[in-house]
């Protein structure tokens, strides 16, 4: 009996020792959101459907984390001394132009543009994310430069994103940056425009070095980058059907039999060639294909291609992402992610699995009977520019950050519920969201915009990116 008891005691001590000696990931700082700041790009800013505006800024991933952590979003009239999460609100329909909305036929831009509502706000914004910014940009651009873009109303010359974050003596810093180091290259179909692996790694390390030195007690979290970003909805499979002017699909008649041998002008040549098998096109190319671009001259007399004005004219190299280019993008982003994980580890910063999130987005996600996909316009995850997320998509993005924070810091921040985006959700989440576009407004816009062209994410992105 005594022997058994002492054995039990020894075993218990041994188990305890084992438990204590298991190395735990010691994240720096703590999950204290008293002074919460965010460093990021268009995703962090809440840029949606080609526009940054107050309707969606409050659903940026940092704003959603702030709300879930118990903070309130500052109203445009807030004073600098108010204890709230300040975001650089811009009036509807937004900057650099109105948002892209669906009118029942196609995606059109809301006319007009918005204006900054808080340019005189008396302290740096908590959400410092600026659309278009790369890892390099968050360290260098202060918001006065000609290339500052939306940094003008967001950074206001008060310093770089990193400087302004440190200046606020933050208790917690959430960071997601790096998307623009490849997105510009993807949207131009040109892997040579990727930020180099070495430059990315150096910039990421210097960003975390600076933040750790400037806010040594702050909790921090970063995130990986989506490696599926050469996929829908930014890009599309080459269509096997073509659309009429009302976007109704028209089946190819014989002898085409459902597939078209698209052609384009490869880079560095003037001789058109067949698009390599396995290529994808940028979403922005679809509207040109609908006008006949990329359809070879041999089909010029074959209906319905004969009816299209540009049949026989090649697509450009920038519109085509060949399998070789897809591989180059995948490798580039994979290198960035390795750099992010290594840098985060070296700085004791947890990493949110945004790559994994986008992998799931690629196949669709389903929660309690609500299914969301990456389908353009109707899928619910990506906004009408094909690049940025919807409010719902940003909530799921924020949840990955919350999960990483809770796992690393033992905190219990509840994730954001997509039920807040149910239009008739009842008591739990208020009485439902406001309708962004009334049917009357949609129909009015249809008459304004006769051209039925889908979003052009590449152009939008470049506009934001400068």
């Amino acid at each position: 009996m005594t022997r058994i008891r002492s054995f039990v005691r020894i075993a218990a001590v041994a188990l305890l020792a084992l438990a204590i000696s298991i190395p735990m990931f010691a994240a720096r700082g703590s999950a204290n959101f008293t002074k919460f700041v965010a460093i990021g790009d268009s995703y962090g800013a809440g840029y949606e459907a080609g526009s940054l505006n107050e309707r969606h800024q409050v659903y940026s991933w940092p704003a959603i984390i702030a709300k879930q952590a118990g903070l309130t979003i500052c109203p445009a009239t807030a004073a600098a001394t108010d204890n709230c999460f300040a975001v650089p609100l811009i009036s509807y329909p937004g900057l650099p132009g109105g948002e892209l909305v669906y009118n029942g036929i196609s995606v059109v831009q809301v006319p007009g543009s918005g204006a900054p509502l808080m340019s005189g706000f008396g302290r740096p914004f908590n959400n410092l994310s600026v659309p278009g910014y790369t890892v390099g940009a968050v360290l260098t651009i202060k918001g006065t430069e000609p290339i500052a873009g939306l940094g003008l109303p967001i950074l206001r010359g008060l310093g770089t994103e990193v400087d302004q974050a440190i200046a606020q003596q933050p208790t917690f810093i959430a960071i997601w940056i790096g998307g623009n180091d490849f997105l510009g290259a993807v949207s131009q179909g040109d892997p040579t425009k990727l930020t180099s692996k070495d430059a990315f790694t150096a910039a990421y390390n210097s960003m975390l070095d600076k933040l750790v030195a400037g806010a040594p007690n702050a909790g921090m979290v970063v995130g990986t980058l989506p490696q599926t970003f050469a996929g829908p909805p930014l890009t599309s499979r080459l269509p096997s059907v073509i659309f009429d002017s009302s976007f109704r699909p028209v089946q190819f008649p014989a002898p085409v039999n459902g597939t078209v041998p698209f052609f384009y002008v490869p880079a560095g040549t003037t001789t058109p060639a067949a698009v390599p098998a396995g290529s994808i096109v940028l979403l922005s190319a679809l509207s040109r294909i609908q006008q006949g671009f990329g359809i070879p001259p041999t089909l010029k007399t074959t209906p319905p291609f004969s009816l299209l004005p540009h049949t026989g004219e090649p697509l450009t190299d920038a519109e085509i992402i060949t399998p070789a280019e897809q591989a180059a993008f995948a490798q580039g982003i994979s290198d960035y992610n390795a750099a992010i994980v290594a840098s985060a580890s070296a700085h004791s910063v947890p990493v949110a699995d945004i790559k994994g999130l986008f992998d799931r987005f690629a196949t669709g996600v389903s929660y309690g009977g609500v299914t969301l996909t990456n389908t353009f316009v109707s899928g619910g995850l990506f906004s009408n520019d094909g690049v940025h997320l919807t409010d719902i998509g940003y909530a799921l993005f924020a949840n990955e950050y919350i999960k990483a924070i809770n796992a690393a810091y033992g905190s219990e921040v509840p994730v954001a519920s997509i039920a807040q985006f149910f239009e008739n959700n009842g008591a739990n989440f208020g009485t439902g969201a406001s309708v962004i576009l009334t049917p009357a407004a949609a129909s009015a816009m249809t008459s304004i915009f006769q051209e039925t062209v889908p979003a052009e994410p590449a152009k939008k992105l470049r506009a934001a990116h400068h």
Binding site: I105, G368, T390, I392, V415, I418, F421, N425, L437
Partner: protein, 429 residues
């Protein structure tokens, strides 16, 4: 009115008012008589009123007077769903059932013939389920309202030895059942960037039937000790029914047009449910004296037959679905006591522990089952040929969490309590 026509009236009334709610594990209902319920359902070795037709059919052999008994169990409950703070849909959400009082009814008639045989006829509701969520319910895209109704008619016969020590019984159960499922469909509304209810899907079956049987044995070892056992067969009911799809207009004409074009036509459906077999074994004694009668029972229910809920759509076959259930066999443990206080009055106590058959993955709005413990108190009153039994039964369901592994990606915690009041009136001719 002759007794038999009175009985027919009673049976038809019972068939009309039947309404299900799940109070045994899974979707079984073990409360088919007020006295048995007061004893925690430990009744297989006692079986001394006409509800023996349900608990142990052999027990009607020892009842040597023609008798009729009918009643029901009024069931009220409170429940609370709390969303999982780590679930991207349910975080921060709550929910509860719509308030209902369910009254699964029962009615029994027994008629001894000679000195050894007793014939019987019972009507009861051995299964049933209702999970009707109060709107607006965040889980409405999984299930708004599920309703399983079951009513059984059971002719029975039992025989006992002349010394009354051994009894054997047999019953043939004719089971009728009806199922309905109701949920909403959601879609992303590209005009508003929000998620909206676009349609309601209501699946309802006909009343479909099958036959099963049950047997029982009751053995009195000596004047103080007795044992009983009964077995009720499993059964599969194949259902035919229809699916109704109703569009929920959003008020945005082009969107509604798309939804309308995608709405499946109303159409026939088929499904089937594998009901479990139940084996009950009990031992009872009066050895404690002072007019106490104590019984302990164990029941075994073969819920592992309920592997999945499959619904086949006749026209739009792509809608056909299989919801894996993968239930497990369960045991329940029941202990009851009956004290004859006076010639007219009995008091009764019972406790029960009932395991649930449902794996964590399957816990959801359709049926959030959990282990439950119950305590009952009842009284019986006899006056001449009349008897009245009344029971208060409190059932506490253990808090059940999906632990983040809900197969519907709908995680949360379900808390349920039920209050049951059983009432029976009997008459011995």
């Amino acid at each position: 009115m002759r007794p038999s026509s009175r009985l027919l009236l009673l049976i038809s009334a019972t068939l009309l008012i039947v309404s299900g709610a799940s109070y045994g594990s899974g979707f079984s209902i073990f409360e088919q008589g007020a006295k048995a319920t007061a004893m925690g359902g430990a009744f297989a070795a006692t079986a001394d009123d006409p509800s023996a037709i349900f608990y142990n059919v052999a027990g009607i052999a020892q009842q040597r007077k023609m008798a009729v008994m009918f009643g029901g169990t009024g069931i009220n409950f409170s429940n609370q769903f709390t969303g999982d703070p780590n679930d991207p849909l349910t975080s921060g959400a709550t929910g509860e059932y719509r308030a209902h009082t369910f009254i699964p009814p029962n009615a029994y008639f027994i008629m001894p013939v000679g000195s050894n045989l007793t014939f019987g006829l019972g009507v009861m509701t051995p299964f049933g389920l209702r999970t009707d969520w109060r709107e607006p319910w965040v889980g409405r895209f999984v299930s708004r309202d599920a309703n399983v109704k079951v009513v059984s008619v059971e002719p029975a016969v039992a025989w006992q030895t002349s010394d009354g020590r051994l009894a054997l019984g047999f019953g043939a159960e004719y089971r009728r059942s009806h199922i309905s499922l109701n949920r909403n469909n959601a879609a992303f509304n590209p005009f508003t960037g929000r998620i909206i209810d676009t349609a309601n899907a209501y699946l309802t079956s006909d009343w479909d039937t099958n036959w099963g049987w049950n047997v029982g044995i009751l053995y009195k070892m000596n004047p103080q000790w007795r044992v009983g056992a009964s077995y009720r067969t499993d059964m599969t009911i194949d259902y035919e029914g229809s699916a109704h799809f109703t569009q929920i207009p959003t008020g945005i004409a082009p969107f509604d047009a798309v939804i309308k074009s995608q709405l499946p036509p109303d159409q026939g459906i088929t499904t089937s449910v594998n009901f479990p077999a139940t084996l009950i074994a009990g031992v009872a004694t009066s050895a404690f004296g002072h007019n106490w009668d104590i019984e302990a029972d164990v029941t075994h229910t073969t819920w592992s037959r309920f592997k999945s809920l499959d619904v086949n759509f006749n026209t739009t076959t792509a809608l056909s679905f299989t919801r894996p259930q993968n239930w497990e066999d369960t045991y329940s443990y029941r202990l009851g006591a009956n004290k004859k206080v006076t010639d007219d009055w009995d008091v009764r106590f019972g406790v029960v522990y009932d395991e649930n058959p449902q794996p964590t993955q399957g816990v959801g709005p359709l049926l959030p089952d959990s282990d439950r413990e119950g305590a009952a108190f009842g009284v019986g009153y006899r006056h001449g040929a009349w008897s009245i039994d009344a029971t208060e039964f409190v059932l506490h369901f253990k808090t059940r969490s999906t632990n983040g592994i809900s197969s519907d990606n709908f995680n949360g915690t379900y808390k349920t309590n039920a209050n049951l009041i059983s009432f029976n009136i009997g008459y011995r001719f």
